[in-house]
Symmetry: C4
C-alpha cells in the first residue's frame, strides 16, 4: 500500500501526492445543495465556513480580518507585519500594490520590512480587531512568541496562531532559550493554533503540545520557491492525510481530544478546498485566493511573509491585477467566471452535495481518484 520507493541502493523515499494529483469521485448518492452544511467549530468559536485568513499583509488587515469574521470565517492578523511596523502602512501598501513585473519587488519588501515592530501598534491593532466584534486572532512567529506574547495577551485575543514556515515541537538551540510550546500553551487559557508542519510525526508532537489546531503545510503554492531555496516541498494531499492519521491516533491516546487541521498550501480554488477537506482537513487557510478581493489591503498584490526575509527570501511577489470582486462574492458568489476563484464555498457546498454528504466531518471520507 504505502508507496516507498528505493531512490538508490539503501536510500528510500515515500511517494507523496499533491492536491493536483487527485480528484474527488462522486458516490452513488447525491444530495440537495440546500441540505448541506459547511459549519465549522474550533473550541468555543463557531464559523459558517471552514476558512481561516492567511496572516499575510496582502490578505489580512484589521478591517479585512473583521470582514472575514462577519462572513463566517476566521480572520488572523500578523503582529509581525506592516501593521505593527508602521502607524499607517497605507502608503507602503499602495506602493507595493503598484509594483509591476519589472520591479525588484523582493528587494523592496526587504526594505519595508526592515522597519522594527512596535509593541504599541500590536495593542492598537488588537483593539481594532476587537472593535470589529468577531473572534479576535493574531499570528506570531515561534521566534518572537516569548517576546511578543505578553503584549498580545494583554491586548486580549481569542485565538493565538503561532506560525512559522516549518515548526516543530522540539526546537534545538545552543544560543537562545527556545520556545517550549507545551509549557507555553499549558499556561494560556485560550486556544492556540500552531504550525505549519508537513508530516505525521511532527503533527502528532504538535498536537501533544496542547494546541487546539495544527496547521498542515507551508503555503507551498505556485508562487512558492521553497523547493528552489531549501529543497523542501510538501505534497499537500499526503501531508493532510498523514496529519489526519495523527489526529485519529491522538484522539485515541487522549480518549477524545480532537485537534483541528488547517490546510495551508496549494489551495486556490473551490475545487482545491473540496480536495483538501476530502483528504481530512477541518478547515483551509486562504492566502493568495483572498488577496484578490476588493477588501484586500494590497490591491490584489500578493506576497507571503517569508518573501521579505532579509537574507534568504522565499516566495515570488505576485503583482496586483484587477480585484475579482468583493470578499463576499469570492466566498459565496455568484460567480461569473467558471475558474473556481469565485464562490469558493458555494463550490465546496455543491461538491459535497454532488457526493451526497451532509457536513464537513462526513465529507472527509469522500472517495478519491489518483488521476495524474
Amino acid at each position: 500500500m504505502r508507496d516507498v520507493v528505493e531512490i538508490g541502493l539503501g536510500k528510500t523515499a515515500q511517494r507523496g501526492y499533491h492536491l493536483d494529483d487527485i480528484a474527488i469521485v462522486p458516490s452513488r448518492r447525491t444530495r440537495d445543495v440546500d441540505d448541506v452544511s459547511t459549519a465549522w467549530q474550533l473550541d468555543a468559536y463557531q464559523f459558517g465556513i471552514p476558512c481561516v485568513g492567511h496572516p499575510s499583509d496582502a490578505t489580512m488587515s484589521a478591517s479585512s480580518a473583521v470582514r472575514l469574521g462577519q462572513l463566517g470565517g476566521l480572520g488572523v492578523l500578523n503582529v509581525e507585519g506592516l501593521w505593527t511596523r508602521y502607524e499607517n502602512p497605507a502608503k507602503v501598501l499602495e506602493e507595493l500594490a503598484g509594483l509591476d513585473e519589472d520591479a525588484r519587488a523582493t528587494k523592496r519588501l526587504q526594505e519595508v520590512y526592515a522597519e522594527p515592530i512596535r509593541p504599541d501598534l500590536i495593542a492598537e491593532r488588537v483593539r481594532e480587531l476587537r472593535a470589529g466584534g468577531g473572534t479576535v486572532a493574531v499570528r506570531v512567529s515561534p521566534q518572537h512568541t516569548l517576546a511578543l506574547a505578553p503584549v498580545i495577551l494583554d491586548a486580549g485575543v481569542d485565538i493565538l496562531v503561532i506560525q512559522g514556515t516549518i515548526v516543530s515541537a522540539e526546537h534545538v538551540s545552543t544560543t537562545d532559550e527556545p520556545l517550549n510550546l507545551k509549557e507555553f500553551i499549558a499556561d494560556l487559557d485560550l486556544p492556540v493554533i500552531v504550525g505549519g508542519c508537513t508530516d505525521y510525526k511532527t503533527a502528532l508532537h504538535l498536537m501533544r503540545t496542547g494546541a487546539a489546531g495544527v496547521i498542515v503545510g507551508i503555503g507551498g503554492d505556485d508562487w512558492s520557491t521553497t523547493e528552489s531555496v531549501l529543497g523542501i516541498r510538501v505534497p499537500m494531499a499526503t501531508a493532510i492525510a498523514d496529519a489526519a492519521a495523527a489526529r485519529r491516533d491522538y484522539l485515541d491516546e487522549t480518549g477524545g481530544r480532537y485537534v483541528h487541521l488547517i490546510a495551508d498550501g496549494d489551495i486556490q480554488t473551490s475545487g482545491d478546498i473540496a480536495k483538501a477537506l476530502g483528504c481530512g482537513a477541518d478547515a483551509v487557510m486562504l492566502g493568495e485566493a483572498l488577496s484578490l478581493c476588493e477588501e484586500a489591503p494590497a490591491g490584489g498584490a500578493w506576497w507571503h511573509s517569508a518573501a521579505s526575509h532579509p537574507s534568504l527570501p522565499r516566495g515570488a511577489f505576485e503583482v496586483a491585477g484587477e480585484p475579482l470582486g468583493s470578499m463576499e462574492r469570492l466566498l459565496f458568489g455568484p460567480a461569473d467566471e467558471p475558474d473556481g476563484q469565485l464562490n469558493l464555498f458555494g463550490g465546496l457546498r455543491r461538491a459535497m452535495a454532488k457526493c451526497g454528504y451532509r457536513d464537513l466531518k462526513e465529507f472527509q471520507k469522500v472517495g478519491l481518484v489518483l488521476d495524474r
Copy 2:
C-alpha cells in the same frame, strides 16, 4: 492489479486513467476496411454510427439533430436550452457566435439563460424533430424531469435522455420531492438514457432503474473546469471500463438485460472515439467535436449547458472559428487535415480494420497499452 495507492496513512485513492493515457495496440490480424461495421442499435432504434449528439445548444438544434439522424447518429435536443426559452433564438446564437476571447462570455451566457423555459416551445421543438422523420430524442435535467415530462411525453418522443452533470440513482432532499428514477422509468413505455455517472456502483444502480442506456462521464474535456470548481475529475478510460464491468454484472444479474454505455467526455478526435469504444463504451456522445461543423447552431462556438449556471458556472466558453466542414464531412470525410477532427467515423472504421475487428462489440476487446 487494481492500483490502489495510499495517499497518506489510512487514506487511499484508486488510480484512474484518461483516454490520453492509453493507446490501442493492433493485434496480429488486420482486416479490409470495407468489411468493418460501425452499426449500433439501442432498443428498437438502429444507427449507422455509434454517435449521440450532445444536447448542448452549440451543437444541437432541431435541424442539426435531424441532420445527425439522417447521417446515422442520434440527435438529442435539450428542452432546457435556448430553443425552449426563445421563440427564435437565432439572434442570441448569432451574438454568441460573434463573441471573442475578451468578451465576458460566461456572464452573457448567464444572462441569456435567465429567460424562463416555455412548455409550449418544448412541444413546438418536438414537432420540428418529428417532422424531420428520424428518431426523436430530447434531454431533460433530473431536477426538471417531473415538471417537464408530461409536456415532453405528450409531444411524443422516441427516446428520453435524463442528463445532469452528476446523476445518482438516489438523490436525497429534505425540501423537494426528489425524482425516483426507477418508478419514473417503469411508468414509461419508451427507452430512457440516464447519466452522467463516473463509477461502477453508480452505473450499476442507474442500470437497475431500468434505463436502456447509461451515460458515462460528465463531459470532462479540455474546456471543462469542473476540477477547479468542484474538485471532481473523471478519468474516462477507467470510468468506461468500470461501467462496462457494471454492464456485465447487471447482464448476469438480470439474465440478459444489456444496458448501453454512452461515453461523454474527453472525446474530440476519431482516435478518442476508438479508444472510448475500445474501453467498453457502446457509443460516444459528441459535443464540441460536432459544434465545429457548418450545421452547428452557434457558428462554431461551444459551451456546455453547465457553463450558464447562474451562480456556479462550470466550463469555459470556446469562441467560434471557421467551421471545419459539413456534418457529413466531419463524420465521414474526406479529411484534408491529419488531426483526427474530420472523418471521425472513417477513422474509427480504419482503426477497427487495423486491429482486425468486424464490429463494435468485438472491438471492445481490443488490446490497450498505457503509454504516458
Copy 3:
C-alpha cells in the same frame, strides 16, 4: 515484472515505454572509440552503418538512395511515391519544398498523389538505382504488392521492402484476394523486409513468413498524428524489446534463423539511434532525420507516405528549413551543433565506446534506466 495495470475492473493494459522514457547507463568498462564497429549485415548485403533510408519521397529519391548506399547505409525507394507517378517530379517537389506554415499542405499532398502510378516509371527508377552501383531496394505497400511485384522483380531489385503503416501476417478480406505473405516470400529468391508491426505476436508471425527483416514501429514520431486519427500509438522501446524477444524465440524455433529488426519511429538523433539499438534493434530506419540533408529531394520538407491519404491522412507536413549539411555530414560529422542531429553514427559509435561495447550485437545488452 511486466507491468500490466487494470485500467478499470476487468480491463487491463500493458505499460509501454517510449525511447524518451529511457536512457543508456554506461557500464564499468569504457572502450577506445576507434575499436568500435558499427557494421551491419542483412543476408548477403553488408553495410557500414545500421541505417535504412525511410522510403518517403521527402527523403529518398533514386539519387539520394544511391548516395546513402555509398555512405554505408541502405537506401530504399518507394515505388508508390512521386517518382513513379511523375516522369519528372522536380517541379512538384520544388513546390512542396516551398510550402509554408499557412499552406494547406495536406490538401496539396492529396492532390499531387492523386496522379496514378506508372509501371514503366517503376522500371525506370529501378534502373537508376541499379546504375548507382549499390544494393537496390524498393518499397511497395501490402495492398499493391501482388499488382506491382512483377514489374519490380522484372526490373531486378536486391531487397524488397513490403511496408504499410500496420502490417499483419494475416490480412482478412471478403472482397479482395489478400496477399499471402508466406507464399509470396517463399516464391521469391531475394530477401524481403516486412512491417511495420508493434507487438511480439505480430513480429513473430511476420518472421514466420520467411522475411529477412521485420520493421518495428510505424514511424510514430513527433509529426505523427496516428494517435489522434486511429487511437494507435507505439511506445518504441517496448515494441523493439518485444520484437527482440520474438526474434530470440523464432531463432530457437527454427534452430538458427536470425531475422533482423529495423526500428522505424521516434528516432531523430544519434541518442535515439543508440537507444533503439540498445533496446534490441539491428538497424534503424531514418526518415525525417535524413530529410534535413542537402541531398534530400524536398529541400528539407518532410512528410510521411500516409500523410497524402485521400480520405484519412495521417502525419503532419513539416515545412522546409535550411538543410543541416550534406548527408555525409549528417551521418559522420563533424557536428558543429550539439543537438544530436549531426554526426548520427559518430554519436552512436561514441555511445558504444562510453559503454565499453565492440559491436552492435553486443550493444543490444547495454543497461537501461527509466528516467521519466
Copy 4:
C-alpha cells in the same frame, strides 16, 4: 523495493530518479541555524563549504579558483582549457562573453579550442594558483593524464582531479596504452579525485583505484545535450544514492577508507545542493551556478568542456546575462531574489536547520519524498 521494470519481454530497466523528482521532508526537530556546520574535509584539506568549482573555463580561472578557496570552497582549474592554450585568453573570453543567441557559438568554441595546449602555460597557471595561497587543484582528462601529469606534478599541486564525461576504472584500447588508474594513483603522494561515473559498480571500481574522491554524474544539467547525442542521461538522485552505497561497501571492505562523493549535475540552486547532499553526496561541484558571479571569467556565459569537442560537441552554450552578484554573495548572500541562485550555502544551512541536523554527515540521512 528497487524498482526494476520490464521495458519489453526480457529487457529490463532500473527506475532512476532526478533531484527534481524528490524533495526533503523536515523531521520532527528543528535547530537554530547558527548551530549548523557546513564544514567539509577532504584528506588533509579543510573547507568551510562542500563546494568544488567545476573546472570549466566559464567558471574557473586561476583567480576565480583562488577566490573560491578564500571563501571556503575548492577551486579547480582545467589544464586543458583556454588558460593553457592562450598566454592571455582575455580577448577570447571577452568575445565568448559577447556572443548572443543567434551566434554559432558551438562552432566558435570549436575554433578557439583548436589551439594546442602549451605545457609551459600549465606550469605558469599552477604558479598563479599557488600564489593565491589556498589549496591548489587542477583537472586533467583521462586521455591526457599520462602525457600531462609530469608537468602538473612538477609544478606542484595539492589535489589532482582526473575528470572526463564518463570515466571507468577499466578503459580498453587496442591502439593506445590506456591509463591504469590504480597504478597511476598508487604512485602519487597526493589525493586524487576521479570521475564522473553514474552507477554503483563504476563508483566502487573507481574507489578501489585509491581515489580520495569520486565524482558522481556527468554535469547533466538543463543545458546538457548528452541524451540527444549519446542516449545517456543520469538521474542524479539515484546515481548519488547508488554511489553512497558503494562508499559504504568500500568502507566495509577496506575497514575504514572513506571516499568522498562529489555530485556533478543538475545542481543550480541552494535547494538542489540540499537535495544532493541529502541523497548522500559529501560535496557538490558547481559549474553554471558559479558562472553567474561577477568573478566568473566569461562574464556570465557558460559552456561545459565537452561543448567544444571538434566533431561531437555536447552541451548548449548559454549566453551571458547580467552577473547575479559577487561570488561571496552567490555563496553566502544576502539574496534579494527568492529563486535559490543567491546565498547558495546560506540556503543549505537553513535547510539543515529546518530539518534539525547539525552537520553534513548527519544530513545525508534526511528524509525524502518523491513528489513528481
